[in-house]
């Protein structure tokens, strides 16, 4: 049973206090939704949890080990931020190939794209896709690692009803396989995920 624990987390960005004395914990099979208004520190929190931001007060523990001191922690999570990590001038297929190289994992593109009904877009340039289609493709990155935690920054932005449901189902399947998911969101997801904190 994995557990992620945040203890007395306080974080400044420049001179601004963004996170103050945050305490929470989340276990395998759970999804935590972090809600808050614009600029409330949701993305900062995910970047702290992803070990990008390293200067803060308090502790973040994964299975009782401080994430700052655990060299293997990077293998345990996958972070999908608000930027799509796609090269506009390349086709969807070539973008997926680049991820394949950097994550060092061979994957079947056609099966991946079927998840979001995007198989017909495989040869299209990313620049010609809608924001929603780009978001769906960026979420396919979740399949490139065998991680235990997903950090998703505003994953439902630009997604239509059908693709939102597909993503919710993927999150629930991941939870069923003992994965931990932390989502930031401006919108109310309490009907879908009950575990929520406001910052």
């Amino acid at each position: 049973m994995d557990e992620l624990k945040i203890e007395d987390l306080t974080c400044y960005r420049g001179e601004n206090l963004v996170l103050k004395d945050l305490n929470t914990k989340i276990k395998s099979g759970e999804t935590l939704v972090i809600r808050g208004s614009n600029g409330s520190g949701k993305t900062t929190l995910l970047r702290v949890l992803s070990n990008f931001i390293k200067s803060y007060n308090g502790k973040v523990l994964f299975n009782d080990q401080n994430i700052l001191e655990d060299p293997n922690y990077r293998y345990f999570f996958n972070f999908v931020g608000q930027k799509n990590s796609l090269k506009d001038n390349l086709s969807v297929k070539n973008n997926l190939k680049l991820w394949e190289i950097i994550y060092q994992k061979n994957i079947s593109y056609s099966k991946l794209l079927e998840d979001f009904n995007m198989s017909h877009l495989v040869e299209r340039d990313v620049a010609s896709l809608s924001d929603g289609q780009k978001k769906c493709i960026s979420l396919l990155r979740l399949n490139f690692t065998e991680s235990k935690i997903w950090y998703l920054d505003e994953p439902f932005v630009f997604l239509d009803e059908e693709n939102s449901q597909t993503l919710i189902q993927k999150i629930k399947n991941f939870n069923t396989n003992n994965g931990i998911v932390i989502i930031t969101s401006n919108i109310n997801l309490q009907n879908t995920f009950t575990n929520e904190i406001k910052i």
């Binding site: 931001i53 390293k54 931020g81 190939k97 680049l98 190289i101 060092q104």
Partner: protein
């Protein structure tokens, strides 16, 4: 590091124009010369030694946005830094790919240009050595400036103001055919400075 190297080379291959932009630019800068100064052999040989450095400087300067900024703007830098815990390895990989993609094509067209400008074989080898060591140093310099100005959009003029004075020692010694050891030393110094400052710039971004 090798995965990142492979990824960057594939990225350049998929956007195949990358290989041609700088070499075409380089050729065009040199081809303008006879129109400006006539076709006198001796004069062209003399000008060639200097103008190739202007071509090289501009080619490297104009492509510096692609070292880190392109990956920063589309979010790929987060993936790169997550997958590569050593920032120094990321920087070295960027040096190698940037040199291969944007400088190597210049060395491929250099023999043809030298022939067109009546450069003797002896001079050609010395020019080649000078340019090789100089281009390495220049790539080190643009890499650290690129890392330091990460996230600053549309600041190519600011970057040019920072970079061009740092290129001056390379230009001064580059036009002297016997000075490749000095250029090698300058490149080694640039490497040390660049590693330190680039790592600092990337850490600032991550934070």
């Amino acid at each position: 590091m090798f995965a990142l190297l492979k990824r960057d080379l594939y990225l350049a291959l998929y956007s195949s124009s990358s290989f041609f932009y700088t070499s075409s630019f380089f050729v065009l800068v040199l081809v303008i010369l006879p129109f400006l100064f006539g076709t006198n052999n001796v004069q062209l040989q003399f000008l060639f030694k200097g103008v190739i450095w202007i071509g090289l400087s501009l080619s490297i300067l104009l492509t510096m946005e692609r070292i880190f900024n392109a990956d920063y703007e589309d979010g790929n830098l987060d993936i790169i830094l997550q997958q590569n815990p050593s920032i120094e390895a990321v920087i070295i990989s960027k040096y190698i790919t940037h040199w291969i993609v944007y400088c190597l094509p210049l060395f491929i067209v250099l023999p043809i240009l030298s022939f067109l400008f009546y450069v003797s074989l002896d001079s050609f080898f010395l020019i080649f050595l000078n340019l090789f060591f100089g281009s390495l140093g220049m790539v080190f310099i643009v890499t650290f400036v690129s890392a330091l100005t990460l996230g600053a959009k549309r600041t190519i003029f600011l970057k040019a103001i920072i970079v061009i004075p740092l290129f001056v020692p390379f230009l001064i010694f580059g036009t002297n055919l016997e000075s490749w050891p000095i250029l090698l030393a300058l490149s080694m110094m640039s490497f040390v400075l660049s590693m330190y400052v680039s790592a600092y710039g990337l850490r600032l971004y991550v934070e």
